[in-house]
């Protein structure tokens, strides 16, 4: 089971950190590894810090990257959450939009199939995820569940420095 209780500490800390860095828009397509984060985005409850992070569910990951990119063009900070399977849909937008216009969007990507013991549909992308990101020189950071804020800061710093989409990889469920 990859699901966690609603509002796991790691997910909450991660989202709080995004808010602290000025993020105002979150969009994406769910993954069970990111269940806690999506539940918090859908139901922030009385968490005032999350009130400023608007969540827009998207039908597909490439459209989510498009929405986030529009917000970034306006000068906002936007994040896209997705499973690594969704990266395939996004490659065209990332390579023919974000990497052409220098519009960096933060991607939080779950790493299904990272250990070769996941469901079969994750085998191919799971084995090649890091090489895929390296191929397009997308800076990436693997989330440290013990220090979500530090991982978020590292991912954003890399993204800002290189002005390319930054990827925060989530290997264990949050």
């Amino acid at each position: 089971m990859h699901t966690t209780t609603v509002g796991s500490t790691t997910a909450r800390d991660l989202l709080h950190s995004l808010v602290d860095h000025g993020y105002t828009l979150a969009t994406g397509v769910p993954c069970s590894l990111l269940n806690g984060a999506f539940r918090l985005l859908e139901e922030p409850g009385d968490d005032a810090r999350l009130a400023g992070l608007r969540y827009v569910p998207a039908p597909r990951e490439d459209s989510a990257v498009g929405i986030a990119s529009g917000a970034v063009v306006a000068g906002e900070r936007a994040v896209v959450l997705m499973q690594n399977s969704g990266l395939g849909y996004c490659l065209n937008v990332i390579t023919s939009f974000n990497l052409i216009y220098d519009v960096p969007v933060l991607l939080i990507v779950s790493w299904r199939g990272h250990d070769g013991n996941d469901a079969v549909e994750h085998d191919v992308i799971g084995a090649e995820l890091l090489r895929l990101l390296d191929l397009f020189r997308l800076p990436h950071t693997v989330l440290d569940p013990a220090d979500p804020a530090g991982s978020v800061s590292t991912a954003i710093d890399q993204m800002d420095k290189e002005q390319r989409c930054g990827v925060l990889i989530v290997r264990e469920g949050i």
Binding site: V56, D62, A71, A74, G75, E76, S96, F97, Y101
Partner: protein, 194 residues
């Protein structure tokens, strides 16, 4: 199966639709789809509010939606094509659910004109699709008179304009770099609107 839509007179053109939008919404942020559509907008009026997509077919509406979410006080237009929208039909419920006032203009010539005029799937009833997806209003126009008379109330709204093929050249390519386009639109998006 319903008969495909036809545009018997081919009376309208992309140029006329673009000009009408510029007259109606002089302050609008406009995200134009790739190919001849961006070139048309560039040649009609090269405004800082224009976001010319040079690639990313299917993405004009999502990018416009991101702008609309970030700047809800602004009028934002997605200048789309039939091929581009057909590539990404799932954008319709996404836009509808957004609660923004996005104006989605679909210029439908029934073909992929920028790549040589190959047919799209078929002329689709984008008005019915948009309304079924939850757009608050949607109007189809086939003539200049209908275009001028089209009433688009609070969005999200869709204007489906049936047009004919070009009768002249596509005009100059966009000369700004992608980085210049982003900078111009960002400045324009954050300028106070009268």
């Amino acid at each position: 199966m319903p008969a495909p839509l036809l545009a018997p007179a081919f009376e309208l053109s992309l140029s006329e639709v673009v000009r009408e939008m510029l007259v109606r919404h002089p302050d609008a942020l406009i995200v134009s789809t790739c190919g001849f559509t961006s070139r048309e907008l560039f040649n009609a009026a090269d405004r800082p509010e224009n976001f010319y997509l040079v690639g990313s077919m299917g993405m004009s509406a999502p990018v416009a939606l991101g702008l609309a979410l970030a700047r809800p006080e602004r009028t934002v237009i997605a200048l789309d094509g039939d091929g581009s929208l057909l590539m990404n039909l799932s954008v319709l419920p996404l836009v509808a659910a957004s609660g923004t006032r996005l104006l989605h203009v679909v210029v439908d010539n029934g073909m992929h004109e920028s790549t040589g005029g190959q047919s799209t799937v078929q002329r689709s009833d984008f008005v019915a699709l948009a309304l079924a997806a939850g757009y608050r209003s949607a109007v189809r126009v086939e003539t200049a008179a209908e275009l001028r008379a089209a009433e688009l109330t609070e969005g999200p709204a869709l204007l489906h304009a049936l047009t004919g093929p070009r009768t002249d050249g596509p005009g100059r390519r966009v000369t700004h770099t992608p980085q210049e386009i982003v900078e111009r639109v960002r400045t324009a998006a954050n300028r106070p609107v009268n």
